[in-house]
């Protein structure tokens, strides 16, 4: 507990919310969208469909999922974050 606080205080984990890191992360995200040129409507549609599929197999924490495009170097990745409660049983 005390060590954790110390770590936080002295910024030992390295990856903290400095404005420099925030600038970088926000840029990566916005550029991933800029470069793929995908419309927000299409993203929303895909998010809905993904949710539908995932919900068929899992009981979800919330009826929403976080879908983002991210960029690292020259590759763009689609990242979906879906907190699940448990796997649905087959007979359900």
């Amino acid at each position: 507990m005390i060590m954790e606080l110390l770590d936080k205080f002295f910024n030992r984990d390295g990856k903290v919310n400095t404005s420099r890191n925030m600038a970088k992360d926000r840029l990566k995200m916005v550029l991933a969208y800029d470069r793929t040129d995908i419309s927000p409507q299409l993203m929303a549609k895909m998010r809905g469909e993904l949710l539908e599929v995932v919900a068929r197999y899992f009981e979800l924490e919330a009826a929403d999922l976080d879908v983002q495009l991210d960029r690292e170097g020259n590759t763009t990745a689609l990242i979906a974050n879906v907190p699940i409660r448990r796997v649905k049983q087959e007979d359900e």
């Binding site: 910024n11 030992r12 926000r26 990566k28 960029r71």
Partner: protein, 268 residues
């Protein structure tokens, strides 16, 4: 002679395109190269002002195209650096009064008598940008370590690629090393990681740039060039194919107190 045609561009305004154009032109000339600077910013011309040549303009690029004068008559020769000449933009007309083909024609004519032709591109990605990049073999993209400038630079890099300009390099301008150290500004490495493009040089933020601009004497002309001036001189040498290492912008090595602090913080 067949000189090289470079365009200096950025997308976003206010990041230092014209300052970069003026200083690189002046630096190349000081290093013995013949240079023609072309102001492609119709209606918002400023390159003349940064070079201190605003009172010597008689004709501009449009007069040449309209056949009212010859190309060499429109060129303003610099008195400090006789190897430097400026082709002014038309101040009273807009960017649609010239076409990419006409710009390409002018720059290729200039390349016959100058070793380097530098085109100062207007901000934006519309007609003025299309004009300025026409005929360029290489693009120099200027950005600052700020989110808006980097985003716009990314867009411009994409457009340059689409226009068939393969050779594109980046200048990170107005870097503040102290802020980077404090994690309050993106570093050159951060910007390069995002843009994935070759680095041509880094220019530190320097108040002297404002002072020299006020006077119309580009900073590279200073007798003992301040850091920003030295950075531009280095970039000019790199443009000629020389290998010049990046300047140390970190300042002197950390003292005992700083080292103790960084030991406690666990950073290097």
């Amino acid at each position: 002679m067949s000189g090289k045609v470079f365009v200096i561009t950025s997308g976003k305004g206010g990041v230092g395109k014209t300052t970069t154009s003026a200083n690189l032109g002046m630096a190349l000339a000081a290093q013995g190269r013949s240079v023609a600077l072309v102001d492609a910013d119709f209606g918002l011309r400023n390159l003349d002002l940064l070079l201190g040549l605003e009172n010597r303009i008689v004709y501009n690029i449009l007069d040449v195209l309209n056949g009212e004068c010859r190309l060499d008559q429109a060129l303003v020769r610099d008195k400090r650096q006789p190897k430097l000449a400026l082709l002014p933009a038309a101040q009273t007309r807009d960017k649609n009064s010239i076409t990419p083909a006409q710009t390409r024609d002018i720059t290729s004519q200039l390349a016959e008598s100058f070793e380097y032709v530098l085109v100062d591109c207007p901000a934006g990605i519309e007609q003025g940008f299309k004009n300025a990049i026409a005929g360029a073999q290489k693009a120099i993209v200027v950005t600052t370590p700020e989110v808006s400038a980097v985003r716009d630079a990314d867009r411009v890099i994409g457009l340059l690629e689409a226009a068939g300009i393969k050779d594109t390099e980046l200048i990170v301008n107005r870097l503040r090393p102290q802020m980077v150290k404090e994690n309050n500004m993106m570093s050159v490495e951060d910007v390069l990681e995002i843009l994935a493009i070759k680095l041509l040089g880094v220019v530190p933020e320097d108040e002297k740039v404002i002072v020299t601009t006020n006077r119309g004497d580009p900073i590279v002309l200073s007798e003992t060039p301040p850091p920003a001036g030295q950075a531009f001189l280095n970039i000019a040498r790199r443009l000629q194919g020389e290998h010049v290492p990046l300047m140390n912008l970190e300042g002197p090595p950390p003292g005992l107190w700083d080292r103790l602090l960084s030991l406690i913080r666990g950073t290097k």
